[in-house]
Assembly symmetry: C2
Homo-oligomer: 216 residues x 2
């Protein structure tokens, strides 16, 4: 059998990146008691064009009714299933510094389908302490801890100087999806998916757009 195995994997990467916004918009509508919506309304709430939204949803199959619109609850379920967050997923955070703390205390994970199940660090001072009710484990035991907690997605909140090293450890432990907050490019083998969030880079991109103004 070939190398493109999964079912609905004709979903383009660019569409996948927008599905979470649709999910947020749908959750908002549901919370406000709205039962039906349209591509125009959903697109508005998500910050995209209506044609783009319809195209994206059409990759998941037919989800609306022509002439009518979309059912909020039904569509919500479809998008959650497509993203693979229909059931709760357990994540681990490595790095218990300021950012690791902020993430561990963040209350917004549950509504998005995630539970922080495990914290780890390299610093012996931090190992064994409790953060937000979770004990900090030793990253040296990553393999056992990750396996016993059933974690498949790891968040790296370490300084840049340790990120590659920790990345190698968790990849060796079988992790295939990593969210990296360290300001560096991680080298990973094929089949491991890394997404990086770098505040410095984001600010630099914004700085580019502000050129021409405010130049003293």
């Amino acid at each position: 059998m070939p190398d493109t195995p999964e079912r609905a994997r004709q979903l383009p990467a660019a569409s996948v990146e927008r599905l979470p916004s649709y999910l947020r918009a749908l959750a908002d509508l549901a919370a406000r008691g709205v039962e039906g919506t349209s591509s125009a309304e959903l697109a508005e709430l998500s910050g995209v064009g209506p044609a783009q939204l319809r195209r994206d949803l059409s990759y998941l199959g037919s989800n609306g009714r022509r002439g009518v619109g979309y059912d909020v609850a039904y569509l919500y379920g479809r998008v959650r299933a497509a993203l693979g967050v229909a059931e709760e997923r357990r994540i681990a955070i490595v790095g218990a510094g300021h950012l690791g703390h902020a993430l561990a205390n963040y209350s917004g994970f549950a509504s998005r389908g995630f539970v922080v199940s495990l914290l780890m660090d390299i610093d012996p001072q931090l190992i064994g302490t409790q953060i937000s009710g979770i004990e900090v484990g030793d990253v040296a035991c990553a393999r056992e801890l990750l396996a016993s907690h059933g974690v498949s997605i790891v968040v790296l909140a370490t300084p840049g100087s340790h990120a590659q090293e920790v990345c190698d450890v968790v990849v060796a432990a079988g992790v295939r999806e990593i969210l990296n907050f360290a300001p560096c490019t991680l080298q990973v083998p094929d089949g491991v998916k890394v997404r990086s969030v770098d505040v410095g880079s984001e600010l630099q991109i914004l700085a580019f757009h502000s050129q021409g103004r405010a130049e003293e």
Copy 2:
């Protein structure tokens, strides 16, 4: 006059988003004492292909020497200038919760060209306290504070429930570039640039890619 005013704005958005990685790679090389490099090496360090890197740099003009490669220090200066971070830029953070704290204490801004010059919150309990040596101001005084600190880029680290409200305030105060950490889509007028970082969305995108494995 038309609506596409600026000089080097032929730079495609997709290229702009990669320039920060190149800058990080160049800073690494410089820190290691490396004086010259090639598109192959820089691309490797940045996680892109060599052709893409050359194409991106070519938008900034000719920066290397054929048959030789690129001068690290020179190219570093060119990319910083292109991004508009050749001189230090002042930023403000709104929201002094866990994330606001973590950002205020983050030591990595300076090397990327930014200084946190101002913190603000709505909570009267927090206003007047000091975080990382900076006093927390009242967001109600945003206009005056932003102006007196010479801030043009604002980071929103508020809960989602207040993000749009605070966004409206800072936009009214003249801010045109916003980095939003709240899990919501901000509605802004034309000409205001928003970049959003949403941990929940990032995890959902990773969850998508982990489908097919780990399904019990």
